[in-house]
Amino acid sequence: MQNEHFVNLTKLDWTDHNLSILKFCKEEAYKAVLAHTADYPPTPHLPVVRGVMGWDRLDYFLDVAAKNNLFEGITSRWVDFQGAPILELRGKYTSLTACHVLSRDDKPRESAYGYRKNNRAKNEKNQELFAEIEASVSEDDLLHIILLHGGRNDNFAYLRIYLEDSDIPALSENIMLMDSPEMTPETESVPTPMPTLKEAIAKAEILPELPADKGKNVHSQS
């Protein structure tokens, strides 16, 4: 029951369209990291380097996507949490942050200054506030959800919510299995330029006089 409530609430902000934009951002971020690190020496650190870069690049893309209005009803802002910048995507009911993990069963790591712990506590506290969806929600009372993503040997991204003690299942299916958004893939339709035979010519048996023959000399000849 509790889970259904969270799922319904999350769906209000994270529509299929918005989820497809999340998918697009993750794909682009991971592609960018792979391209950027293509020439890196293949040391055992490389996956870690890519993971860190993916975390950074995804936040960047999410921010750009929000600022370019790719999402519907979602804004972005960088929260300075005790000196640690965190990107939040805010809808009407939820606030989303991204977290990179190695496996889809991993839980988000604790953040250094307790950001995630605080949010879990807030989620716990705010549960009752969301009993009625229509209730007005203040900016500080948003449900804190996490875009849990990874892809070293797997390609996944789920929306999750964490409470202090409860184990809540994922709020979404694997986003990476959704259809991709249409990013203006089409091109303009252009007609083939076609000359048409003049009607009189099509019927005429005698060719018309050539224009150069009719042309008048600009300079008269002596």
Partner: protein
């Protein structure tokens, strides 16, 4: 006694890239004699006329053919892409003469066929973004990438021709002759992204600068070029849709967008700066980065092969239409209006020498050959 056409002699000489002195030296006559032939005060002898034709590599018959007056009197100034690179007056004269001849050929074809209606919307460079938007709208386009750019231009009445400038710093030029817009695209550069940007740039000139005098073009060339560049950029990459695609503002992000938008990475970075999708600092960093990768040199940017070619099909399909309906074939056209082979190739996109071989092999592609094309160039 030959009856040479004075203006035609001047036209063909300038088309050949020769000065009066050059021609006089070739013919071993005085410069004054050439001047007299060209101002009509004296007619060349038959022997002289043959020598002129040989020196200029044209059919004698062409030198006797009057130049239609509208081609000369109703020709706007040729506006060059990279005006400063069109370094010599000689090159400009040659380009103008090339345009005159191509125009004459189109005039001839218009006796038999109707070309797509000319649709150049009335816009000004005071608001270039708006002008590009208006043009797209007038042409029935939305804000999506345009793949078939050459076909689009031709379907809106712009005569698209190839041209050899003999200088790879000169990419393209355009002019309006007797109300018909022409764009000539250089064949020296094979860079597809550049070619696409060039003709969009020329569209900017055709829309904004057709009434500007030759003198004003020269005096304000930097501003005029800038306006045409901004127009090309806005026309090819509409703000609304392009901005949404620029999620990754790294160089690699722009590289990924290149096949889709059909423009160079460099052009996209400029556009992103204009639309304030990237900062001045990022812009400069990207350009340093591109220089370091060697991408700013001609034909050096990656993924050019993924970009569609600028196709010209109007001249070719016109010829096919005329030949298919047995109205006239290329040899008859050439016989009646024996312009240099390069002009025919520029308009019809057909290699006459190759056609000759085909004719021999197939024996039916050209029904009524009248002349020996090997004697013409």
């Amino acid at each position: 006694m030959s009856t040479a056409n004075p203006e035609r002699i001047a036209q063909v000489r300038e088309f050949a890239g020769l000065s009066k002195t050059d021609l006089a030296q070739k013919l071993e006559v005085s410069v004054a004699a050439v001047s007299q032939w060209e101002d009509g005060s004296k007619n060349p002898t038959t022997a002289n006329l043959i020598s002129i034709a040989q020196a200029l590599s044209v059919d004698v018959k062409l030198l006797m053919k009057p130049v239609p007056s509208v081609v000369l009197t109703r020709r706007g100034p040729a506006i060059f892409r990279a005006q400063s690179a069109a370094k010599t007056a000689q090159m400009k004269r040659r380009a103008n003469r090339f345009a005159e001849m191509a125009s004459e050929l189109f005039m001839l074809l218009e006796q038999w066929v109707s070309f797509p209606k000319i649709e150049l919307p009335s816009v000004t460079p005071s608001n270039i973004e708006k002008a590009a938007e208006t043009c797209r709208k007038a042409w029935g386009l939305g804000n999506l990438p345009i793949t078939k750019l050459g076909e689009l231009f031709e379907s809106k009445g712009i005569r698209l021709c190839s041209a050899e400038f003999g200088d790879d710093r000169c990419d393209a030029y355009s002019c309006i002759i007797d109300g018909r817009p022409f764009t000539f695209l250089g064949t020296e550069k094979q860079d597809r992204a550049r070619a696409r940007f060039d003709i969009a740039h020329e569209l900017g000139h055709l829309l904004f600068h057709q009434h500007v005098s030759e003198e004003d073009i020269l005096n304000n060339s930097a501003e005029i070029e800038k306006q045409a560049n901004l127009f090309a950029s806005a026309f090819l990459m509409p703000a609304e849709t392009f901005s949404k695609d620029v999620v990754d503002t790294s160089i690699l992000g722009f590289k990924r967008l290149k096949p889709k938008w059909g423009v160079s990475i460099q052009a996209m970075i400029y556009r992103a700066k204009t639309l304030e999708l990237i900062t001045e600092e990022t812009f400069e960093r990207h350009f340093r980065n591109m220089s370091a990768r060697g991408w700013r040199k001609a034909k050096a940017e990656p993924l050019d092969e993924t970009i569609p070619l600028v196709n010209r099909s109007l001249g070719k399909s016109t010829l096919e239409l005329l030949e298919k309906n047995n109205v006239i074939n290329i040899w008859e056209i050439l016989s009646d209006l024996p312009l240099p082979n390069t002009v025919f190739q520029s308009v019809f996109d057909r290699d006459l020498h190759f056609a000759t071989r085909n004719q021999v092999v197939l024996g039916k592609e050209f029904i009524r050959p009248k002349i020996d094309p090997n004697n013409r160039n």
